[in-house]
């Protein structure tokens, strides 16, 4: 009897305590007490969680770094590829602009037929002002055909192979082009030089030539079609005792940046040598 009685009393007390605590909790009376009791528990849990995070980072870090490095390499490769694409597109844009300008020139001069060509090289000799284009006899090119840019006259075909042609520029020292100066309509001869500068020679003394006058091909001699713009007078040299005047010229075409040119394919140079009188031998 005595042994059962203490266990019954213990159970009753425990039950009453539990019911009492529940009632107090439901009533909201043990909030401060629970906060006090949970604080060390929370601190311990936080500490344990941090230690676990650190351990997890330590174990998984090498794999993450490798992944990040791989992603970085992929992004760098993609960036390089995109940069190359940008350069290509910029080059295509430049070519498009040149072609658009050449098309405008062709439309402004519909009397001629044109064939576009790309400049692929220059003469290896520094004494000659020649360029090489990627069109040849297979494309209908013939020796003597004039070459123009979107601004004006550039030169003429000097030699032709099946797939390429050599162009003699008007800056070449051996070139002589018959021109006419606007607005005076005076005739003169345009010559090149070793430095690439062009000048006018044999301008009549009575011709009124001023800086800024336009220079066009005259068509004399049959080597170039008439009325193609060549350049502009920059300065005039006139001496009273000289037979002729001379002048410096700024060509309209930039020969250091030639990339794409037009060949006038429906112009045949005229050979006038058979018409020139031959002096009779005594």
């Amino acid at each position: 009897m005595k042994r059962r009685f203490p266990s019954i009393i213990r159970n009753i007390v425990f039950s009453l305590l539990t019911i009492g605590l529940l009632a107090l909790a439901l009533g909201g009376y043990i909030g401060p007490l629970s906060r006090l009791a949970l604080a060390p528990l929370v601190a311990a849990q936080t500490w344990a969680s941090k230690q676990y995070q650190g351990l997890e980072d330590f174990i998984t870090a090498p794999r993450d770094v490798t992944v990040i490095r791989q992603q970085n390499a992929n992004l760098e490769a993609e960036n390089a590829h995109l940069q190359a694409q940008i350069v290509t597109l910029q080059q295509q844009l430049t070519e498009y602009e040149i072609l658009a300008a050449l098309l405008d020139f062709a439309r402004a001069h519909p009397e001629h037929q044109y064939l576009g060509a790309t400049v692929i090289g220059r003469d290896i000799s520094p004494f000659l002002h020649y360029v090489i284009i990627n069109r040849g006899s297979d494309d209908g090119l013939r020796r003597g055909m004039p070459i123009v840019t979107q601004n004006g006259l550039a030169g003429r075909v000097s030699q032709v192979t099946a797939k390429s042609a050599r162009i003699q520029l008007i800056t070449d020292p051996s070139v002589k082009v018959n021109v006419r100066i606007q607005p005076s309509r005076s005739e003169a001869i345009l010559t090149g030089s070793i430095t690439g500068e062009v000048s006018l020679e044999q301008i009549p003394q009575n011709a009124k030539v001023n800086p800024g006058n336009l220079i066009l091909t005259s068509g004399l001699g049959g080597n170039y079609p008439p009325n193609i713009i060549v350049g502009q007078v920059t300065s005039v040299k006139s001496q009273e005792y000289a037979l002729f005047q001379s002048a410096s010229v700024q060509p309209v075409s930039d020969f250091s940046e030639l990339e794409i040119v037009l060949v006038i394919i429906n112009f045949n140079p005229i050979e006038i040598e058979p018409l020139l009188p031959v002096p009779k031998t005594p």
Partner: protein
């Protein structure tokens, strides 16, 4: 084998000369990679095909240039002869021979070109040619000659490996 090798090597030099080097003038002078390649080959110790390289290089240059055919061939062959003669006399300081042959070869090539242009009827002012073309060309050739020499020396060593005495 070394004669066959001349065709691709000198062809590449010709293409580079026309497409790249000629677009990089100093004043109005340009380097001559074909000339430098021929000189570099001719001064190599165990090479016996210098003349052939000079001939092939000259032909390629003449086919590419607007100058009368033969101008480059003759001047390159003369330069090759000079380079071979220097190799026999200055065999210990062959780089000096390379430099000397570069200067003389440039002068020879330019003199031949000037003569050809004069015969064709174009008078060029000599002083202007010297100041704006020849001197800058010599400078550029001297600048490029050592890298070209090193490259050609590598090729020559692969074709003619050094013999080691045991």
């Amino acid at each position: 084998m070394s004669i066959l090798l001349a065709i691709p090597v000198l062809s590449i030099a010709t293409i580079l000369q026309s497409a790249v080097i000629s677009r990089m003038p100093l004043l109005h002078g340009t380097a001559d990679i074909i000339l430098l390649t021929i000189i570099a080959w001719a001064v190599q110790e165990d090479v016996e095909t210098g003349w052939q390289w000079g001939l092939i290089g000259g032909f390629l240059a003449d086919f590419t240039s607007g100058l009368p055919f033969g101008v480059y061939t003759i001047s390159y062959l003369l330069t090759t002869g000079l380079a071979i003669a220097l190799r026999k006399r200055i065999w210990k300081l062959i780089v000096l021979g390379q430099l000397f042959a570069t200067v003389v070869g440039t002068l020879l090539t330019h003199a031949a070109s000037l003569l050809a242009v004069f015969i064709q009827g174009t008078n060029l002012p000599l002083r202007e040619v010297l100041e704006t073309i020849t001197l800058p060309s010599i400078f550029l050739n001297l600048l490029f000659t050592i890298p070209v020499y090193i490259l050609i020396q590598e090729i020559a060593l692969r074709l003619h490996p050094e013999e080691i005495a045991i």
